[in-house]
Symmetry: C2
Subunit: 225 residues, 2 copies
């Protein structure tokens, strides 16, 4: 019985979240600020990817990061150490970010001066997929050590994203990962999302991925600022 | 408002789960069957670890595996291909296993003939920690590619387990992972749980880990059967 009640209430909460997410997105759009939600397993390299992205667009865009974590401030410290602005959200046990949490973090950012906000979601391939954060684009990172079967096992998150990044290509000598099989598995769930194999250690593949993001987000050209 | 209601209902469900988990555990104990719950991030190597464990105790114990997955039957097929018995639980989106799901899977197993049941939980470092499956022992696997900061970021799961396994030590040439720092971080959350660095590829460290499990579970000695 209580399971049934839980589902009903949960749907109300999810519906509230969808409305709030749409209003967060509209508010950002009105100020020409893009927001990108980065999701992945624990340890797939979300923070390293975000640092690389910040460095790539540095001088071309004004950016800030909203860091989601169950506990600790490790990732926000990494972003700050790299010379960029970060707001740390601690969920205290919650397994995903939602629009209300992101809205709270936005209060600490000056939207008038920003072009791009990156949201680092909680390390989890399931729950973040079900909760709109208000971002304009959603990315999921996989990584070579996790194996090429993740789209089979966590289809929901691959179905809902705008692009898939496969990180840690530099580890190919140690891990067997069939990139073509992975792409086929993603393609069966999501025909629109490109797949970008990258290494945040060597930088391989990142430029293609970031320029795809620039085109999709209509960022100004490097020379136009 | 709906958030507050959600929490209340959720507590009722959690309390129902705790009671059911205790009854599952009692039922298994009465039949001298041990159940071990294996938790980890996606791709940390739960299935490989379980296959190694089955091979280690093969001929000494009668064993079966309950495989939890959001979707797909990939892991159960791996277990069957290795020559062992597996029941696949598909959660259809749920981010963790609970005692009710495990109880359903137990209906497909002959408890009279088994000594050990391994539960492979959903790949997730957050939600499984909050839901007792009815297992006697709980393990969490980390892995070198995930980084040594996981106890800082996902403290809940490290606090509640009986042992911590650090898999993929064979990848040390590619990934920086400070085992001593990791052990200190685990120790601050959980002074009882031993940490076992292992490689399910080379087999390094596994014998120590499995013999710890044998002692904790009072398994019969190899020669006594």
């Amino acid at each position: 019985m209580s399971d049934v009640v839980l589902i009903r209430i949960k749907e109300e909460v999810l519906s509230d979240n969808r409305e709030l997410a749409a209003s967060v997105r509209d508010r950002l759009t009105a100020r020409s600020v893009k927001m990108v939600n980065v999701m992945a397993s624990p340890g797939a390299g979300k923070t390293s990817f975000i640092v690389r992205l910040l460095q790539h667009f540095s001088g071309r865009l004004n950016m800030a990061v909203i860091e989601g974590d169950v506990d600790s401030t490790v990732d926000a410290e990494t972003i700050l150490a790299a010379g960029f602005e970060a707001v740390q959200l601690q969920t205290g046990g919650s397994c995903h970010l939602n629009a209300a949490m992101v809205e709270r973090a936005l209060q600490d950012l000056d939207l008038e001066t920003l072009d791009l906000i990156l949201v680092e979601n909680i390390g989890n391939l399931i729950c973040p997929a079900g909760h709109d954060t208000g971002a304009h684009l959603n990315l999921v990172l996989s990584s070579l050590p996790e194996g090429d079967d993740k789209p089979l096992k966590y289809p929901g998150i691959f179905r809902g994203v705008d692009a898939v990044v496969v990180n840690k290509t530099d580890a190919h000598s140690v891990f067997t990962f069939d990139v073509e099989a992975f792409k086929r598995r993603v393609g069966r769930l999501n025909q629109e999302a490109p797949v970008f194999p990258v290494s945040c250690v060597t930088g391989e593949g990142l430029a293609d991925c970031f320029e795809w993001l620039a085109v999709r987000s209509s960022f100004p050209e490097p020379s136009s600022r």
